[in-house]
C-alpha cells in the first residue's frame, strides 16, 4: 500500500484555506467554551471572537505570500493549482472576510443576534471560496461551490425572527439546489466530451464539439445563478433583503470573486471550442441593462444594492466574453476583471458596513426614509456612504471609476465598442439611484430616529479601511493594475 505524501508545494497551496477553516473551527469552540450563559449573551460584543477572527484572516492573508509560485506542478492529483491568479482572488476574499469579521461584533450585538455561528460560517465559507478560486478539476470546483453555498443559505436565514429572512433563505436554498443541478449536469457533459477527464487542463486538447458546447453552456448557467446574472437573478433581491445587512455585503463581494475566478478558469480551459463568447456578451448586456433599470425605483436600500450587484455582474461578464472573442483565447483582458473585483470589494463592503453601523431597535436600517438626515446626525457615516455610492456609480477619483475604465477600454480595444457604449449609458442611468440616498442623507430633515450601534470601534475601523481603499484605488491604481496583469499572464490548470 502506497503512503500518503504531501509535497511542500501542496502544503503551501492549501495553507490560506486551511488557516481559514481552522479559524472557523476555533471560533465555534471558543463560543461554546467561553460563551457566558447570561440572558443578554446575544447582545454582548464578544470581542474575543472578533479579535480571533481578525487574527485568523490576517494570518491567512500572510500565508498568501508563502508560495513556490511554480504552476507547472500538479497538486493533489490535479485538484488545485497555486498560481498568482488564484492568490489574487483569494486575497480579495480574505480581505472581505477580515472586514466583515471586524464589523460583525458591533453590528450583531447591536441587533441582539450575536452568536458564534455567524463568525464560524463566514470563515468556513471563505475557506471554501479560496479553494474554489484555486480549484482546477470538476469535482473540487463542485464541492467547493456546494460548501460555500451551504454557508450562504444559513447566513441568509441567520435571523430567524425576521419573516423576510426565512423567505429569502428558503428561496435561495431552492434556487441554489436547482442551479447546482445545472452545474453538475454540465460537468457530466464536459466529462463525456473530454473523453473521461475531470481535469480542466485536459479540456484544452479538444472537446467533443456538441457535448462540450452544451456542457459549457450548462456550467455557465450554473455560475450565472451564483453571481446573479440575468435571466437567473430573481432570487437576489429577496435574499439580500432578508439577510442581515453585513452578511449581504460579504455575500455580494466574496461569492462574486470566487464564482468569477472559477468561471474564468473554466472558460479559459474549454477555450473557444465552445463558441460561448457571443452568449456571454449577450448575458453581459441584458444583465447591465436590467440590473440598472430595476434598481431605479427601489426604496429599500438592500434591494437597491441587490439590483446594483446584478448590474455589476454584467460589467464583470464583459472581460470574460472579450477573452474568448474571435476564437483566440486572450487572458490579458481578464486583468480588468480582477481589478474590478478588488475595487468592488472596498466599494460594496463600504456601503454595507456603513449600513451595519445603524439600526432601528433590533432591525436593520435599510430604507431610504430611515437614512434621511443622516448627514446631520452622523456625518462621518454619511460621508462613507456617499463615497461608496460615488464609487459604485463610477465617478472619477474612485476605485469604481478605474475598474469600469479598464473594462470599457479593453472592450473598445477589442473591437466591441458597442459593449462599452452600453456599459457607459447604463452607468449614467445608475448615477440616479446611487445619488438618491445621498440626497436623502443631506437634503432631508431627519424623519425617523436612527440609532447607532454601540461598540462600533470595529465598524469604524472597517469603514476607514474601505474608504481609504476606494480613494487609493481611484488615485493610485498602478500597483494593483500591474499585479492583476501579472496574475493573468499564466493561469495554472
Amino acid at each position: 500500500m502506497e503512503e500518503l505524501v504531501f509535497s511542500r508545494a501542496e502544503f503551501e497551496a492549501v495553507l490560506p484555506s486551511a488557516i481559514l477553516f481552522a479559524t472557523g473551527l476555533l471560533l465555534l469552540l471558543m463560543d461554546t467554551c467561553f460563551g457566558d450563559r447570561d440572558p443578554n449573551e446575544d447582545s454582548s460584543p464578544k470581542t474575543h471572537l472578533v479579535l480571533t477572527g481578525v487574527a485568523g484572516a490576517l494570518l491567512a492573508f500572510a500565508a498568501l505570500s508563502v508560495s513556490a509560485g511554480d504552476t507547472s506542478v500538479r497538486l493533489f492529483a490535479g485538484a488545485m493549482t497555486d498560481d498568482l491568479f488564484g492568490r489574487f482572488a483569494a486575497g480579495i476574499i480574505i480581505l472581505a472576510t477580515l472586514l466583515t469579521s471586524l464589523a460583525a461584533g458591533g453590528y450583531l450585538s447591536g441587533i441582539g443576534k450575536h452568536r458564534g455561528e455567524f463568525h464560524a460560517l463566514i470563515f468556513l465559507g471563505a475557506g471554501a471560496m479560496v479553494l474554489l478560486a484555486q480549484a482546477t478539476n470538476l469535482i473540487s470546483i463542485f464541492v467547493a461551490v456546494e460548501t460555500l453555498s451551504l454557508a450562504l443559505y444559513v447566513l441568509a436565514g441567520y435571523v430567524r425572527a425576521w419573516r423576510e429572512s426565512a423567505e429569502g433563505a428558503f428561496k435561495y436554498f431552492i434556487m441554489g439546489a436547482f442551479s447546482s443541478g445545472f452545474l453538475l449536469l454540465g460537468m457530466a457533459f464536459l466529462y463525456g466530451a473530454s473523453g473521461g477527464s475531470i481535469q480542466l487542463a485536459d479540456f484544452g486538447d479538444g472537446l467533443d464539439p456538441v457535448l462540450g458546447s452544451v456542457g459549457t453552456l450548462l456550467v455557465i448557467i450554473g455560475f450565472a445563478f451564483k453571481v446573479g446574472a440575468v435571466p437567473f437573478h430573481s432570487w437576489v433581491p429577496d435574499v439580500y433583503q432578508g439577510s442581515p445587512v453585513l452578511a449581504a455585503g460579504w455575500m455580494a463581494v466574496a461569492v462574486k470573486v470566487a464564482s468569477f475566478a472559477a468561471l474564468l478558469r473554466l472558460v479559459m480551459a474549454t477555450g473557444d471550442s465552445a463558441n460561448m463568447a457571443g452568449l456571454i456578451m449577450a448575458i453581459a448586456v441584458i444583465t447591465m441593462a436590467l440590473g440598472n433599470l430595476a434598481a431605479l425605483n427601489q426604496t429599500n436600500l438592500k434591494r437597491m444594492l441587490a439590483y446594483s450587484g446584478i448590474a455589476h455582474s454584467g460589467y464583470l461578464m464583459i472581460p470574460v466574453g472579450l477573452a474568448l472573442h474571435e476564437g483566440s483565447v486572450n487572458p490579458k483582458v481578464l486583468a480588468g476583471s480582477l481589478f474590478y473585483l478588488a475595487a468592488y470589494l472596498v466599494t460594496t463592503l463600504g456601503v454595507f458596513v456603513a449600513l451595519s453601523s445603524l439600526k432601528h431597535g433590533d432591525r436593520d436600517c435599510d430604507t431610504l426614509d430611515a437614512i434621511k438626515g443622516l448627514g446631520r446626525r452622523h456625518p462621518l457615516i454619511a460621508l462613507a456612504i456617499t463615497l461608496s455610492m460615488v464609487s459604485l456609480a463610477g465617478i472619477p477619483l474612485t476605485g469604481g471609476f478605474m475598474g469600469k475604465y479598464f473594462i470599457f477600454r479593453d472592450a473598445v480595444l477589442g473591437g466591441y465598442w458597442q459593449l462599452a457604449v452600453i456599459g457607459i449609458v447604463t452607468s449614467m442611468v445608475s448615477i440616479y439611484y446611487y445619488l438618491r440616498p445621498v440626497v436623502a442623507m443631506y437634503f432631508h430633515e431627519p424623519s425617523e430616529k436612527i440609532e447607532k450601534v454601540e461598540a462600533a470601534w470595529g465598524l469604524h475601523l472597517a469603514l476607514g479601511i474601505t474608504s481609504f481603499g476606494i480613494l487609493y484605488l481611484g488615485v493610485m491604481p498602478e500597483r494593483l493594475v500591474a499585479l492583476s496583469l501579472r496574475s493573468v499572464e499564466r493561469l495554472g490548470m
Partner: protein
C-alpha cells in the same frame, strides 16, 4: 457477461429508472414519491453493478435506499401532510410553460448526446478514451480500488467534504435552535405563555 445481455439488461434497468423518476415528480402524495424514489435508487445501484462498480453499487443501496430514504420518510411523517394541506398546483398556463421549458432542455440534451462523437466514431478528432470494461483489472470496482481513488486522487475533496458536512450541521443547529432566553430562570421549564408564543412563532 455477453455484450448483448449487458445491453438488454441496461435498457430494462434504464427504462425502470426513467419511469420511476417520472413517477417521483408526478405523484401528489409525497409518500408515493418517496417509495418510487426507492425504486429509482435500486435501479441506479443495478446500473453501477452492470458497470462492474460493485462497491459503489452496494454503497448506493446502503446509503441512499437505506439511510437517506429513512430520513425522507421521517420528514414526511413529522410533517404528516393531509390532502387539504397540499398547496394548489398552478393553472394550465403554468403547466404548459413548465412542461415546455422542461421539454426544451430535454431536446437540447438529447441533441447533444445524439450528435456527439460518442455515437459517431467516424467523426475526426474524437478524444474519447473511455476504457473497455474488459481491459480493467480484477480489482476494479472493489472497496480497495475505491478507497485508493478516494484517499489519493481525491484527498483534497474528501477533506473539503467534511467541512461541507460541518457547515451543514452548524447551519441546521443554528436554524432550528430555540432561543434560550424564553426559558424561565425558576424551574427550567418553559412558561405556558412563552410556549404559546413559540408555537405561534412556528
Amino acid at each position: 457477461m455477453s455484450p448483448w445481455l449487458q445491453h438488454t439488461s441496461f435498457a430494462i434497468i434504464a427504462a425502470i429508472a426513467v419511469l420511476a423518476s417520472i413517477l417521483v415528480v408526478t405523484r401528489r402524495n409525497p409518500i408515493y414519491s418517496a417509495l418510487f424514489l426507492i425504486v429509482l435508487f435500486g435501479a441506479m445501484a443495478m446500473i453501477f453493478l452492470l458497470l462492474e462498480a460493485d462497491f459503489l453499487g452496494f454503497m448506493q443501496l446502503l446509503v441512499y435506499a437505506g439511510a437517506i430514504m429513512v430520513l425522507y420518510l421521517f420528514v414526511i411523517m413529522l410533517i404528516n401532510p393531509r390532502e387539504g394541506d397540499l398547496p394548489e398546483e398552478g393553472g394550465a398556463v403554468d403547466r404548459v410553460v413548465a412542461g415546455g421549458t422542461a421539454s426544451l432542455v430535454f431536446c437540447l440534451l438529447w441533441f447533444a448526446i445524439h450528435e456527439s462523437a460518442l455515437l459517431h466514431p467516424e467523426l475526426p478528432a474524437v478524444p474519447v478514451v473511455f476504457p473497455e470494461l474488459a481491459s480493467l483489472g480484477p480489482e476494479h470496482g472493489g472497496a480497495a480500488a475505491f478507497g485508493r481513488e478516494l484517499f489519493h486522487e481525491h484527498l483534497l475533496v474528501f477533506e473539503l467534504a467534511s467541512i461541507l458536512i460541518l457547515v451543514g450541521i452548524v447551519g441546521a443547529v443554528h436554524i432550528s435552535l430555540r432561543t434560550r432566553r424564553r426559558v424561565s430562570a425558576g424551574n427550567g421549564l418553559t412558561p405556558p405563555a412563552a410556549r404559546a408564543e413559540e408555537a405561534a412563532h412556528v
